[in-house]
Amino acid sequence: MVTETILQQLVLFVPELILTGTFCLILLTGAFTKLRDYGTSTLTLIGSIAAFISVLPTIGVQKSLFAGMIAIDSFAVFFKLFSLVCLIGITLFSLHAGELKLVRTRSAEYYALLVAMTLGMFLMASATHLLMMVLAMELTSLSAYVLAGYTKEAADSSEASLKYILYGAVASGLLLYGISILYGLTGSLHYTTINHVLAVEPLSRVPLALVFVLLLVGFGFKISAVPFHSWTPDVYEGAPITITTFLSVASKAAGFAMLIRFFKLVCVNPVASVEAGYSIPLLPIDWQLLLAVLAVLTMTVGNLVALWQENLKRLLAYSSIAHAGYMLIGVVSFTDKGIASVLVYLVVYLFMNMGAFLVVMVVANKTGSEDIRTYRGLGSRSPFLAIAMTVFLISLTGIPPTAGFIGKLYLFAAALDAQWYWLAFLGVLNSVLALYYYVRIIRNMFLRESESAVPNISLTSGEVLLLGALLVPTLVFGIFFSPIVEIAQKSIVMLGVP
């Protein structure tokens, strides 16, 4: 009986199995054949496309697998497809990355770890059991630690990796501690069971508050929310830029998936919420307010510190912290609209943030520098690159007619709808603050002349195609955004949420 159910359930687990297979295959290929960069990246692409195709049949399925360890539902499917798109994008980025050219001999490890990280994100998005969640998070994190230090010849890359490990270890330690207390209090690691116990049994405030704070450290580390963000700038700056991009988009999204699923399933009163029509918090502490404060801190600190950055990678790191803050605005309310707005924002953020990083990468390839001064006069030296960057930055600021505006619109609308007025107000003020540093880049590109005779940056056709593939959605979704909104609205269906 057991074997049959497991076998039946394995059908829904095919995407993960494909990724596992790809991982092994790439490792073996790297170890035993002469295939190097193009071979392994092709394998990665094939694997991720196969996984993508195999995820498609699970759309609309709602099922709990392996004794409640993971859930297959629209929410998970959304994040699976999201991370696969990121993976494909990053693989294509990597082919053009100058930093990685020096270490082509080790490219098998690089791609294998990327695949492993994606697998971890798959599981993060679908875990409905605390143990599974921790395992998934560790799989993602461990791969990320190594990848951050992948160009180990560069001192700052090793430094980034070490810092990342230290912070990550502390964060997961605290998270585990919180989980163990929660287990002690409720006697279960299953989300739904914990939720049930919380709803039925009166539990004292202090240990629950402790659990909540400890879990928040773990989640906050993953989405780099202030005050758990201090690893982000150094790691983003030191890691190879492809990895930085992957961390700032896919890893962050997976962190959000984990956070949303946990709070939605564990900390919301399911029965009362259905009756009331909006989410009613369950814990005896005001965790929504705590999240709201976290959101405000995250976006404000991210934006304020970004104002002074000279290194673009670092600047974008702080900007990504701020964006995590914006997304937390949507999370706070835990209404369907709020969660949908986060999903909308993530899709939009995927294109604009990857685009901005791609431009930084291309410029760094040619000039060897990520300093804001190297962007002076880029508007005349390489108009296409500069215009693309401008569109991405304007979108990151949230000005129409770019997709970023739609993302912000949905987030603030969700906050207003759930009556978090002050949160929405602080959110929009922050987007004005953000304008200043994004425009600083635009100013350097167009308003200033380059200091010395710098050669023009010519783009390869591959780079142009990649840029275009990110530029078009950034603009089109700004004007015609029904598709992403529809997808987001359909993707909030979570197993166990009535």
Binding site: D336, T397, A413, L416, V432, L435, R443, L447, S482, Q489
Partner: protein, 537 residues
């Protein structure tokens, strides 16, 4: 009344033709300067012709504002329509264009000023391709703001203008251009995000029932937002005179006030004006400032009538400050351009005062003043540009006796100056007189009106003093060789001068077209007369 050209409504054409021009310009080779300039000229000329067609086909009896059948040249298409599922309501955003007596003068003004701005920038050489592209994009944004009747669409157009304006000031401006450009950008964005929140609050409060399915739809439709019956009970902005409504009104007000600009949000204006190239100053003063007051009249007034009434006195006080403070600041300037910039603040104060009157005279005066100030101040900035192009300084005290060497220039300048100070017979007089007349009739702001009339004297003082300093007296040796105004410059100045004079003598050409709409607007605000429009989806 609708006019279709190639299956598209005339308002779409007038809005998006500059965008087509922009695409064409972007496709041209880098050094095809002549072709680019002429493309821009042709595109804006077509715009002027379309504006003229609209003007001559405009039905002055229809009132518009909050009635669908009163709107003219309406174009209404569904833009975004997401069917509702589970907890999401149906999302409905329309591509909804239309004009009435309030927006028609602005459409004319925008077309005209854009056309003139193209010729005023004929001498630009630096990165011309980018310049023309940005100018045309800006044009689309401006026109779109005045024809949009869906708040979402309005907001998109409103924001589309920011980036081109930033580049136009920041790349082609004067020495402190970077500072001025970012200041403009930050100020305007700060205002518009507040507007965004107010817009969302309105969206969540207003519900329209789809007659086909009986489904409740939230909408961005401005006309629906003007009907109190559409506000869902217990929603954010339901009711009359609630605190939430006051907050929303304030948020909208700040958004628009920054654009006008109303004291204390005005500090970006002198910087932006002084640093911007001539053509951009012309657009900035001629069209962009009007968007603030237009927004107040189009959105704040009819959607929050009780607030508009309640806050008449504070608004009038701000108007008086604008008038007098602007004039005093203008008087203290030695920089010609800065003087004109401050005079804009003063003149926009008159628009505000007229709006505060809440009666036909005041309202007509205000809208007419918006149009007239657009033409007059455009002339003034062109005049400054003419002088600056020759002398490369703008210090008023450095000049003198230019009347002897540049007689034609002096003639045009005199017309503009006298129009600006409100000399009877020129257009400025009519609108200022109407504004003050209307404001005087409103008893609650009578005292403020009386005080603000000091502004007229101050305006006369600084205008005449400037005239004296620059054109009269002994000619400086240094400026003896300045050539008189060129035919191209005359071509930009004369049409405006003609309009100024014609409207000064026969203002009905404008007033007739807007009276009906503005009366209706006054009705809405004062008597709450609402002609309910059932919106079809």
């Amino acid at each position: 009344m609708t006019i279709q050209i190639l299956g598209l409504g005339i308002l779409s054409w007038i809005t998006f033709i500059p965008l087509l021009g922009m695409v064409a310009v972007l496709c041209m080779p880098k050094h095809a300067h002549v072709a680019m300039k002429w493309t821009a000229a042709v595109v804006t000329l077509v715009q002027v012709i379309l504006a003229a067609v609209i003007y001559f086909n405009f039905n002055p009896t229809l009132s518009g504002i909050n009635t669908l059948d009163g709107m003219q040249f309406v174009e209404r298409l569904t833009w975004i329509d997401l069917q509702s599922n589970t907890s999401f309501g149906r999302i409905h955003i329309e591509y909804f264009l239309g004009i009435d007596g309030l927006s028609m003068p602005m459409v004319l003004l925008t077309a005209l000023i854009s056309f003139i701005a193209v010729f005023a920038s004929w001498n630009i050489d630096k990165a011309l391709k980018g310049y023309i592209a940005m100018l045309l994009l800006l044009d689309t944004g401006m026109m779109g703001v005045f024809v949009a009747l869906d708040f979402f669409l309005f907001y998109v157009f409103w924001e589309v203008m920011l980036l081109p304006m930033y580049f136009l000031i920041g790349i082609w401006g004067g020495p402190r251009r970077e500072y001025a450009a970012i200041k403009f950008f930050l100020y305007t964005l700060a205002g518009s995000v507040l507007m965004l929140l107010a817009m969302l609050a309105l969206y969540f409060s207003v519900v329209v029932v789809d007659p086909a399915t009986g489904e409740k739809i939230h909408t961005f439709n401005m006309l629906a937002m003007m009907n109190p019956a559409n506000y869902e009970p217990n929603s954010l902005l339901a009711g009359i005179g609630t605190t939430m409504r006051a907050i929303a009104y304030l948020a909208l007000f700040i958004g628009f006030a920054i654009k006008v600009p109303i004291f204390p949000f005005h500090t970006w204006l002198p910087d932006a004006h002084v640093e911007a190239p001539t053509a951009i100053s012309v657009i900035l003063a001629g069209v962009l400032l009007k968007m603030g007051t237009y927004g107040l009249l189009r959105i704040s007034y009819p959607m929050f009538p009780e607030m508009a009434q309640q806050y008449v006195v504070p608004l009038a006080i701000l108007a008086a400050i604008n008038i007098i403070y602007g004039a005093l600041c203008a008087m203290a300037q030695r920089d010609f351009k800065k003087l004109i910039a401050y005079s804009s603040i003063s003149h926009m104060g008159i628009v505000l005062l007229g709006m505060c009157a809440l009666n036909s005279q005041g309202m007509v005066g205000a809208v007419l003043q918006m149009f007239n100030h657009g033409t007059i101040t455009a002339m003034l900035f062109l005049i400054v540009g003419v002088l600056y192009d020759r002398a490369h300084i703008r210090d008023l005290d450095a000049f003198g006796g230019l009347a002897l060497t540049m007689p034609k220039y002096t003639g045009v300048t005199t017309v503009a100056f006298f129009a600006a100070l409100g000399l009877p017979g020129l257009s400025g007089f009519i609108s200022e007189a109407f504004s003050f007349l209307g404001a005087f009739q409103n008893e609650s702001i009578r005292l403020i009106t009386i005080i603000s009339t000091v502004g007229i004297i101050l305006t006369a003082a600084y205008m005449l003093w400037t005239l004296q300093r620059v054109f009269l007296g002994h000619p400086h040796e240094k400026w003896r060789s300045l050539p008189d105004v060129s035919p191209r410059e005359l071509f930009t100045l004369v049409p405006l001068a003609v309009i100024v004079i014609v409207l000064g003598i026969y203002p009905s050409l404008m007033i007739n077209f807007m009276a009906s709409s503005l009366n209706h607007l006054v009705d809405i605000v004062v008597r709450g007369s609402i002609h309910t429009t059932v919106l079809q989806f």
